[in-house]
């Protein structure tokens, strides 16, 4: 008997990259918010952290995941998103030196928490052979919209943390993801987030750069940013 790996054709896979301790909670919030918003829309969702990363070290790159599908999700035994549709970077430097587009599906969207221009970040995105799958790079200065929740060093690893889901930076990033990809609706995201103003501001202030064949504006500028629609 062989075990077949389930393939969910309509499943959206969201990978949120982050930094250990300083931003780990915010990335988990972003993934959880997107999953909860999907659930509020009646979709099937999963949300979890990477089991291999050790996020209790300051600054270590680590990942959180969300999966949203209109059909029941049969992917239970893959503990990472090997084929991401949406890649979110909770901290801008992660764009450098990480294979953030590894296994990316065609039409992948990258959302970066940065005050820099998306054009300037394009050159660092790797691996280069997956650049043809990249549809857009979105930038949101979420650090200006909310403060990160820093976990303490008392050994409780956040268990005594009583900030609710989506209280800080993660909420603004989730709003930006909703605008840039259309994976969830703004209303459902607002209904599940603690900091509703940050979600709305993130939704409004995101800058989306359409990318085609690895270059900005290679396929011309769409008339309306909303034209970058999801599936």
């Amino acid at each position: 008997m062989t075990l077949a790996v389930a393939i969910d054709p309509n499943m959206l896979e969201v990978t949120v990259w982050t930094r250990g301790v300083t931003l780990a909670k915010e990335a988990r919030d972003t993934a959880t918010l997107l999953a909860k918003a999907g659930k509020a829309e009646g979709k099937h969702v999963q949300s979890f952290d990477n089991y291999v990363d050790l996020p209790d070290r300051i600054g270590v790159p680590c990942k959180s995941y969300a999966r949203i599908s209109p059909d029941p999700i049969e992917t239970f035994y893959e503990y990472e998103n090997y084929r991401p549709d949406i890649v979110v970077l909770a901290e801008e430097t992660l764009v450098k030196g990480h294979n953030i587009l590894g296994g990316a599906k065609p039409g992948c969207v990258v959302v970066i928490n940065t005050a820099r221009d998306p054009e300037k970040l394009l050159k660092w995105i790797s691996p280069k052979e997956n650049m043809k799958h990249l549809k857009a790079v979105a930038c949101i200065d979420a650090n200006a919209l909310g403060a990160g929740v820093m976990l303490t060093f008392d050994g409780t690893e956040g268990s005594g943390d009583d900030t609710k889901i989506g209280a800080g930076v993660g909420a603004a990033i989730a709003g930006a993801v909703a605008k840039a990809t259309g994976c969830v609706k703004l209303e459902s995201l607002v209904s599940v987030a603690e900091n509703k103003a940050a979600v709305k501001q993130g939704y409004e202030k995101v800058t989306v750069l359409p990318v085609c064949k690895g270059e900005a504006f290679a396929c011309g500028l769409p008339e309306d940013p909303q034209e970058i629609k999801w599936k």
Partner: protein
């Protein structure tokens, strides 16, 4: 068996690292890069002593230099520098 205490190496002194672990490259943990101002640097080697990852290279010609493949950007070097010669610059300000 019969070594005098002066012949035994001092406990905290270990050989300088000569091999690097290719499976644990930590340079991409860093988001603030240490940059030394060679004009201000007095070559006191305080950063070389304090660096927890032995990422500070020192040579008499070049002075202080950093091994950016393994530097995590913890900032200890810039904190302990007595003359403030080491600054921390955002990693994305550098192309490489």
């Amino acid at each position: 068996m019969s070594k005098t205490y002066k012949q035994v190496p001092f406990a905290a002194i270990v050989p300088s690292p000569t091999v690097s672990n290719e499976h644990m490259v930590t340079g991409n943990w860093r988001y603030l890069r240490p940059v030394v101002d060679k004009g201000q640097c007095t070559q006191c080697k305080t950063c070389w002593i304090f660096c927890p990852d032995a990422c500070v290279d020192f040579s008499k010609d070049e002075g202080v230099d950093f091994n950016l493949k393994y530097c995590k950007g913890c900032g200890v070097c810039s904190s302990v520098c007595p003359v403030g010669a080491i600054s921390r610059v955002p990693e994305l300000d550098f192309d490489e």
